[in-house]
């Protein structure tokens, strides 16, 4: 963690008809472990397969089938815990959460209610405006995902695909430390970033590999501070849980609309009922999931098919010793070692591919120039092609080559942009291209002077005007650049033009 004092963001305040209200948010993020096989079976986790083809009999809940835990999934939960500075429990255990639903063929989900593998941790959540908050993690547990029900293929039937059934999830539970919709999204972004660095979850929200349940309540100003001082939930309002959101935009919209719904109830003299709700993006409203309420008695009990999961201290230490550099540390290093701004460092460390690309460029050139070229030119160009950094046709070595030519004064900044486009579209070695196509900057003052003389001689009227209005000297600079094909050193041209015109 950074040792800087934090400026914490202000809580989101919504003005009701009678008073101001603050938001209090806790989240449960379900992150799919980036494993090949499922948590308790040898079936594939590959997305988009034929329905019910990635299904072992264990996943289908066939009688007599026994779950056997996937070692890699255990390791990823530990890695994620360590990445969130969390306590790792050397003994954890699995419980059954019992409920009936067509996409849960076992009739229960195997989860870890009583003894989760990861305990308390924390994550630094930064907002764009320079403020940041430490959000406490309560726990992370391993559990099975459910299958997928499709309701729109037949008017009378629901279709069930068990490919996702039994895939390993890490449920990351936060304390109610999040104070607004933007913070909630920033929290999920940060978790995703950390897990992508760790390689424990790919974070693909579109495929449902990262989903969030959001607990929202509202309180009068001052109440939250009382909660933080005492950790007594009685100071907070009644919360509602909005289930299963897989987009940052929906998370924010759902929190806002749910808070407003609760405020209207309270100010109207009613009380908020604790319940599970669903966000409907088409109507931008939340509504009660009554079926979930009825089944809320999960009758958890220890799963008799699974012994407790015991891991060794040395195993955890081995994983800890091999953790990659994490986003906070990398960002701090980019700021300190390369002199980058906070913002540039944030963008460059948003994902490991961008950070690695930048570092490869900066290794042989100036860090700040490298950041400018990666952020402005390369990212801009990739965006135009709707391409990802991993698909960049220009290698870090090529970009470093262009920057080296600018630094050595061989090419001007303007020519560099032309060169960038050539290398990006055609490939090749930047230095060779400059030599072969005669793009080298003219720094020979004799040649520039000759060009300036020729233009002054040819345009006596312009000379007269420029002497009255020195701002018009720029026209001469432009003409010289044109005459030299943009290769003249602009600083030298400026100087010589000014001298020749006697300005």
């Amino acid at each position: 963690m950074l040792d800087l004092p934090l400026t914490t963001p202000k809580p989101k305040v919504i003005a009701g008809a009678k008073q101001d209200w603050e938001l209090v948010i806790g989240m449960e993020v379900h992150a799919q472990v980036a494993s090949n096989a499922k948590l308790f079976s040898g079936a594939s986790t590959k997305f988009g397969a034929e329905p019910n083809s990635n299904v072992a009999f264990v996943d289908a809940g066939m009688p007599g089938m026994l779950p056997v835990i996937n070692d890699f999934c255990v390791e990823q939960a530990v890695r994620t815990g360590l990445g969130l500075n969390a306590e790792i429990h050397l003994t954890s255990a699995f419980d059954r959460k019992n409920y009936f639903y067509p996409d849960l063929p076992q009739g229960y989900q195997i989860s870890q209610l009583y003894h989760p593998i990861v305990g308390e941790g924390e994550v630094l959540v930064e907002l764009g405006d320079g403020t940041a908050r430490i959000v406490r993690i309560e726990r992370i547990h391993l559990e099975q995902d459910a299958g997928k029900s499709i309701h729109d293929m037949d008017p009378a039937m629901s279709f069930v695909d068990l490919n996702r059934t039994g895939v390993a999830l890490m449920e990351i539970v936060s304390r109610p430390d999040i104070r607004g919709p933007e913070e909630a999204a920033a929290y999920v972004v940060k978790l995703r970033q950390i897990m992508q660095y760790l390689g424990t979850c790919d974070g693909n929200m579109q495929n449902g590999n990262l989903r969030a349940d959001v607990n929202v309540s509202v309180c009068s100003p001052g109440q939250y501070e009382k909660y933080q001082a005492t950790q007594d939930f009685a100071h907070l309002g009644t919360r509602c849980e909005i289930k299963n959101m897989n987009s940052m935009r929906f998370i924010q919209a759902a929190i806002e609309v749910e808070a407003r719904r609760q405020i209207a109830i309270i100010e109207g003299g009613g009380t908020v009922t604790q319940e599970t709700r669903l966000y409907d993006p088409d109507r931008n409203e939340t509504r009660s999931m009554r079926s979930k309420e009825e089944a809320h008695d999960y009758r958890y009990f220890p799963d008799p098919d699974l012994l407790p999961l015991v891991i060794e201290r040395a195993y955890v230490e081995g994983i800890a010793a091999n953790l990659p550099e994490l986003p906070d540390a990398k960002k701090a290093r980019f700021i300190n070692d390369f002199g980058l701004s906070d913002y540039d460092a944030s963008v460059l460390t948003a994902d490991t591919a961008s950070a690695a690309y930048f570092e490869a460029v900066a290794a042989t050139t100036d860090g700040k120039l490298a950041a400018n070229w990666v952020l402005n030119e390369l990212f801009g160009r990739l965006k135009k092609d709707e391409a990802d950094i991993t698909a960049s046709p220009m290698s870090p070595t090529q970009l470093a080559g262009i920057i080296a030519l600018i630094k050595s004064g061989d090419i001007s900044g303007k020519i560099a942009k032309d060169l960038f486009e050539i290398v990006y579209t055609e490939g090749g070695d930047p230095a060779q291209i400059v030599a072969a196509r005669g793009m080298k900057q003219v720094t020979d003052t004799g040649a520039i002077e000759a060009a300036v003389d020729a233009i002054i001689a040819a345009n006596p009227a312009q000379v007269e005007k420029a002497r009255q209005n020195p701002k018009l000297a720029g026209w001469f600079v432009g003409q010289v650049m044109k005459a030299t094909g943009g290769k003249a050193n602009p600083a030298a041209v400026n100087q010589i033009v000014a001298a020749k015109l006697a300005l």
């Binding site: 040898g42 039937m157 068990l162």
Partner: protein, 95 residues
């Protein structure tokens, strides 16, 4: 702990077992007899005793992260009362 008729009905509903109302009093009485028997264990002092999870000392068996199973759609769907286009087809469930 005492199981009344309403609780017996609720447990049956959660377990998706149909119990006729006239059978509920007997069911509740059976529950109570079973729980009463189990509650005798409460007489034992088990403070500082680790729960025994296995008769012989065993570690949880683990598996490598390798795909070894699946690709058996027909077998998975074989017992389904209704299956279409590779999916289980069930009466509509909508939130």
């Amino acid at each position: 702990m005492s199981i009344d008729i309403d609780t017996a009905a609720r447990v049956a509903k959660l377990a998706r077992i149909k119990v006729e109302p006239e059978a509920l009093p007997a069911l509740a009485a059976e529950f109570n007899a079973i729980l009463g028997f189990i509650e005798q264990l409460g007489e034992l002092d088990v403070d500082n005793v680790e729960p025994m999870t296995s008769v012989t000392p065993m570690a949880l068996p683990r598996r490598a992260d390798v795909v070894t199973d699946g690709n058996q759609q027909a077998k998975v769907l074989a017992n389904a009362p209704d299956a279409r286009e590779g999916f289980f087809a069930v009466p509509k469930v909508v939130e």
